[in-house]
Point group: C2
Chain length 688, copies 2
């Protein structure tokens, strides 16, 4: 006998119609997936999800990820019933400017765990949730006191299954045996272009079994609530494999156009809405209707259960604090999102006599220090560990115990050659909570593979870190396929993104300092393969401003500056060397400005910025990159508006004239050109 009855069907119809009404009112949106997935959503909430709208950040809540984010009318409607801060009026303002119900779910909204919509991301973020949960459980759970027990549930559609980012993340999830991850795949055979037989005839179940997942097929996802519930229960009981529940549904269930792409992404016809309401037993003339018994049912069954679970967890936490005061204090600190006192004293500082070192090696020193100080640091690399130098000395790999090559206690993740999957996972780990500070390594050029996830980190404000080594032609022999040219400009243009390119050890420490302290801005830290000197004039404090005058070379006795060289990373020392020689040879005064991060420099007050880049001095930028972004902070640019070359680092620099002589010839041209011209600082602007 079914445990579901009329009230369940009424709840489902209510959610379906709320979603449809929201789309109609907005005259925009996606009714199809909500109509198809409302039964699964109801069953998930009724029987499994423990959440608490009064404490939305309760650390042990179950996580729900709507990877097919365009179905958000379903999510907002359900969150409304679950007591979250969404009124019926909010639902009526769906997809309108400034509303709490935008066209895709956004991280900062109550009950929304992740920003989703770009397909493939949510399910991949969810792998990050599952990793984070497994790790927190391994670190803190005690047999008599289980702190972390939550599951991560995902809804995903055909699009999410087709995107490569999810292939990467799900392959890794299978490898990592993440039994706490349950994906409900809305197998409705429809995408925007039409039937999936146009482009997507692979056997998804076979593929996921190949990844090492358990796959459960539920054929009648429109009706068979018991089967859905059974499947989720079975999935939960499998502690060694993530589960894909392949749920066959009808897109736009109940609509006259059900089962076609017409119901995917635009409102239904008014007549269709009427018959739909009638069919579900609602008054076809009314909109946004929630029967009181639906509110009551959600309150009694879901809201109360969630609140109770939260209360029990609070007691568990108290008990934990008593029994395990040391770990308990760490846990409490992390839940509060506070770094340990004096953590930054772990950051190394450097003097010129420390000699030449690659900034990737300097980064390795920082990581080694921080890993000891910050238990929340959780790192990894997309199969470039020996190149990125991201693994600290006594790191334990994050691996299932039975592999004997690590444990879930471990904090070093072997991501495989999966930059995009890694990056989406970083986002998930960060969003999971417990002050987790994830970083992932790859070559700077291949951060671009992860653009989709990097963008979502910036948009959502997940303060993750990419350790991006081999940051220029300085990587040498691997050649132009591996040498970034446009990459830094790309990410400098991304709002809410730090792009650090430290010039030496102190600047590396500064980059990590600001990145680790960041609450809502991600960072890419660009690091050299090749050695650079430790510079006179650098300091953590100065570099932490994002830009500063690192040194001045006076070839004459007047205080007047003749030229500023502005640069970043490995070219700062080149500028210093060039300026030193040129100023002496030509009796001019040259300042070198190091600009390790545009974002941070841009946040400094105008007075500071103009003091670094004053009026009346020509500014020449030097970076072995596309010159486009340096147009913002210089009058003239010496750069590389072409692809690089395979060869020894030094020879490639010489080939492109990034040498003291090459810089000198540009300085001469710039000085001559500007000698009779009025010059305004690029930071002095009419529009702030």
């Amino acid at each position: 006998m079914s445990k579901f009855n009329d009230i369940d069907r009424l709840c489902i119809s209510t959610v379906r119609l709320l979603a449809v009404d929201a789309v109609q009112k907005a005259n925009s949106g996606h009714p199809g997936a909500p109509l198809g997935l409302a039964p699964a959503m109801h069953v998930l909430c009724r029987d499994f999800m423990n959440v608490n709208h009064e404490n939305v950040d309760w650390p042990n809540r179950d996580r729900f990820v709507l990877s097919n984010g365009h179905a958000c009318a379903l999510l907002y409607s359900t969150l409304h019933l679950l007591g979250y801060d969404y009124t019926i009026d909010d639902l009526k303002r769906f997809r309108s400017v400034g509303s709490k119900t935008p066209g895709h779910p956004e991280y900062e909204l109550p009950g929304v765990e992740l920003t989703t919509g770009p397909l493939g991301q949510g399910i991949s973020n969810a792998v990050g949730f599952a990793i984070a949960q497994a790790h927190i459980a391994a670190r803190y759970n005690k047999k008599d006191c289980e702190i972390s027990t939550n599951y991560t549930y995902v809804f995903a559609g055909d699009g999410c299954m087709q995107e490569g980012v999810s292939s990467e993340a799900c392959s890794l999830a299978g490898h990592l045996q993440l039994g706490n991850l349950i994906v409900i795949y809305d197998d409705n055979s429809i995408t925007i272009d039409g039937k999936t037989n146009l482009s997507f005839t692979e056997e998804v179940a076979v593929r996921y079994r190949g990844y090492g997942w358990e796959v459960i097929e539920v054929k009648d996802g429109n009706d068979n609530l018991d089967a859905i519930s059974q499947a989720i229960k079975l999935a939960k009981s499998n502690k060694k494999q993530p589960t894909l529940i392949k749920l066959t549904t009808t897109i736009g269930f109940g609509s006259l156009n059900e089962g076609t792409y017409n119901v995917h992404g635009s409102p239904l016809k008014p007549d269709d809405v009427k018959q739909l309401k009638k069919r579900f037993g609602f008054n076809s003339e009314e909109s946004f209707v929630v029967p009181q018994e639906v509110y009551d049912f959600y309150k009694e069954h879901m809201i109360e259960r969630g609140k109770k679970a939260n209360e029990e967890w609070n007691s568990t936490l108290e008990e934990y604090m008593r029994k395990y005061p040391e770990l308990g204090a760490e846990l409490k600190r992390r839940i509060a999102g506070i770094l340990p006192p004096d953590w930054e004293s772990a950051l190394p500082t450097f003097k010129p006599e420390d000699g030449d070192l690659a900034t990737r090696k300097l980064s390795a020193s920082v990581i080694n220090s921080l890993a000891k100080t910050l238990p929340e640091l959780i790192g990894g690399s997309a199969d470039l560990t020996p190149s990125n130098l991201t693994r600290w000395d006594d790191a334990i790999d994050f691996q299932p115990d039975d592999t004997k090559i690590g444990s879930y206690m471990g904090r070093y993740i072997r991501y495989g050659v999966r930059e995009h999957g890694m990056s989406a996972i970083l986002n998930g780990i960060s969003a999971y909570g417990y002050n987790l500070k994830p970083f992932g390594g790859t070559f700077l050029n291949f951060v671009s593979y992860a653009s989709g996830a990097v963008r979502l980190a910036a948009l959502s404000g997940y303060p993750v870190i990419w350790v991006a080594t081999h940051d220029s032609i300085g990587l040498g022999e691997d050649g132009p396929t591996h040498q970034p040219i446009e990459t830094v400009t790309h990410f400098r243009a991304l709002p809410n993104m730090q792009v650090w390119r430290p010039a030496d050890g102190n600047e590396v420490s500064a980059a990590y300092k600001v990145s680790i302290e960041s609450k809502a801005t991600p960072s890419i830290i660009c690091l050299t393969r090749q050695n650079v000197p430790q510079l006179e004039g650098s300091s953590i404090e100065k570099a932490a401003k994002g830009g500063y005058a690192i040194s001045e070379y006076h070839g004459n006795t007047t205080p007047k500056l003749d030229l500023i060289l502005v640069s970043s990373g490995s070219e700062v020392s080149l500028c210093c060397k060039s300026a030193e020689k040129y100023s002496k040879d030509h009796k001019v005064n040259i300042r070198v400005v190091s600009l390790p991060d545009f974002y941070t420099f841009g946040k400094q007050p105008f007075e500071y910025r103009i003091s670094v880049l004053p009026d009346e001095v020509p500014i020449l930028s030097v970076e072995v990159y596309a010159t486009l972004s340096m147009c913002k902070y210089s009058h003239e640019q010496f750069g590389l508006d072409r692809f690089g070359m395979s060869g020894k680092s030094k020879e490639v620099y010489e080939y492109f004239e990034f040498t003291p002589d090459g810089v000198a010839s540009r300085i001469a041209k710039v000085l001559s050109f500007y000698s009779d011209k009025t010059i305004r600082s690029p930071v002095r602007k009419a529009l702030a």
Copy 2:
């Protein structure tokens, strides 16, 4: 009895040692994969590959793709033996500046079909090769005259299997039943981090079977030449499925460190090289040795066979020209890479009275015209056909015949939700030849998902086209997850990349004109979802310069310009409207400059550029994008250095003040600020 004997083993040893010597000489590179894959390479060349070093572009040559491009020492060594223009001295200059043997294979080199190295790309490009071959065969082959019969062979490693881009492309390849595609997967269980058990324990064979591929396992790829040959033969006989040959090899075979990650990416120790040479029967004191019998064997068996096949094909082509003169003429034209005469007369032109239309709709008109005129146009979309409007009226889908929903004759490809896979496939189609002009549609924001492939298009010079609709906040309700902000700056910074953002119908035609004519530069054409007016002052000819003064508004009778508004796409009409009103209200003279493509504008002579953006006039840019790139061509920027918002297009523009009033308030500030200042054109520079 084996058909292979001592000479085969000698050939293999020779290639192995050439590759090792090249890496040793360079003191940089990857010996492991060449040592493991040399047997497969030899068997492939000996028994299957038909190529002709004297006619490297022979259209019906078999295609070889080294997807694990870091193994290029293997490729260069083999090309040397195959008679291609690589001397032993070239091999000695491996990975050095200006050499013909760079650190990863580059498209322009003889015998190198594709630029590879960034993992996952080559195998995905190869899907494009296979699609292109199937299409050319379907279009031109006659029962008595087969023009196109070649196969595409790919070597790929674990990295290529892990990357999501290959998952996307290979899923589609299975759907498309591409029997002409044969991938040899070097299953050596080692990646840079160590054993694949660190991160990659999925069953690749199961996954590929799920994609619909045939999978053949060859366990002893180090020795069993017969098994390799049999497997490839079997793969060739399967006309309905692509084949993955899972070839177990030992990375660094023969080295003292064989089977470990130590042999992956750095030279062997000198002693190791010595023992290796001894082991393979070579003098351990000599380097770069090719026994004469090896040259002879390659000449007799491979070079001669390839030449003969080419000659036979030439005869077939002659016969074809006689029997099928019309198709034959088209074929000949396409092989020569020449567009049909007067093709550009198919491009529509527009007048203001044609009214408001979305540029994506204007693009649809162009595509409709061009599809009739250009049989080489081969389009598609990553499951956004009804949004991108990329499918012309009588298009036939590229599908296997037995699906009954298209045919290989078709020129419209349903890529599924696979932007990166699609883009890599576009690159492959373009590189295949026959003047194929591939385009692929997606939202501009999701071209970023494909950054890895876009970059390789620019680096290699594949003139492909991305039809990138929904190009700004103007897409409205879908909100910030879908609204590009940084995207255009990213691609403007990419060398050799056109980024068109046309303002109206004439500019759309211009964008296609320049993109279709391009021989070695790819294009992204950014198009609006929302309507824009047809502008007075636009023309194909003017827009084809990349930037021009589209109109001037004189509020007083002097010729002196007070301000220039520079803009692109949908903001050009906003600028015109704003300038018209402001100039009248304030009696000033304002020029509006439309800058549809930075790349093309940047190629114009200085005199032209300075005439468009003259000295002594303040220039204000207006784009609903990150302002970074407009710093290149303006003094002041009005843009969007934050993420967008979900809401109706018009309301979102209003929210961010992209209205005539909003522009006017910026104009006022700029005029006031610059009233007492000397102004230099941003195109007047000391450094060209």
